[in-house]
Symmetry: C3
Subunit: 114 residues, 3 copies
């Protein structure tokens, strides 16, 4: 079974497809924004990358969410709840983790079916 | 290949089945308890959700464990070691992460075969 | 579809193979070392475990990296960048998480195709 990589960088690929599963790199938002706007950036990037992989958000299997500060949980969730397709919600887990730089407030790691 | 979701909420599903793989949402325990009792709650929930998916703990592929305070590692492990089936132990990783609220001391994310 | 476990311990297995996917336990390095040397230890262990599973680093699908202190991000990346095969980079995410003991500075969790 072949592996297809899209948006391949020297350190990581944004999209890795194996069989009927796609793994996305951890997505972050524009660092100038707050938790809500970074979450919207991330969810838009996920939509875009899933489309490139030939799938969409109704087929997400698992989402791991890291928040730099768990006190922003409800702000992140407000954006998530508007975006996630009802009846097709993924398995999800959220933990607090500082990210690659202090300006990054949210990161989401998605695995989806194709 | 179809996706089957069980215990579907508006934000996440507890169980997502795709082909012969099941992804469980991150499980937490009763917040009134200590690390040992929360771990027991979580492991009982994993047993229950795996049964709903038609599988069991001998088929867990990966477990990611988050502890709110790594100083409780041995208390969590004491419960894990009593529960995990010998000869069928999963790939595992444990990191410290604050969870959705300060009352949550442990979270476990499981992927299993069916 | 059968599950094959290699280097099976009482708490976890280092390698779990299901179908054409291999899950490795979170790998850590020799605790006496710094971030660079621990990262090299980990990447060597990943090479070794992938070989035992019948695959190699050109087939890694996802890598989750935990750093005990995100200020060491560039030291970890310097080793990663020398090791990761160009054209075959995985989906990757890095978050800060304290690990099983304060002497552990890096942990990497890999999923690969076979």
């Amino acid at each position: 079974m072949s592996i297809r990589r899209i948006d391949v960088g020297p350190r990581m690929s944004q999209i890795v497809i194996h069989g009927n599963i796609v793994y996305l790199a951890g997505q972050v938002g524009e660092p100038s924004g707050n938790v809500a706007s970074q979450t919207r950036d991330i969810l838009a990037a996920i939509d875009e990358f899933l489309a490139k992989a030939g799938t969409d958000k109704t087929k997400i299997l698992q989402a791991i969410i890291w928040l730099a500060d768990m006190s922003t949980f409800s702000e992140m969730n407000a954006e998530w709840d508007k975006w996630v397709p009802q009846g097709h919600t993924p398995a999800r887990a959220t933990g607090e983790a500082k990210l690659a730089g202090p300006e990054y407030l949210v990161e989401i790691i998605v695995t989806a079916a194709i």
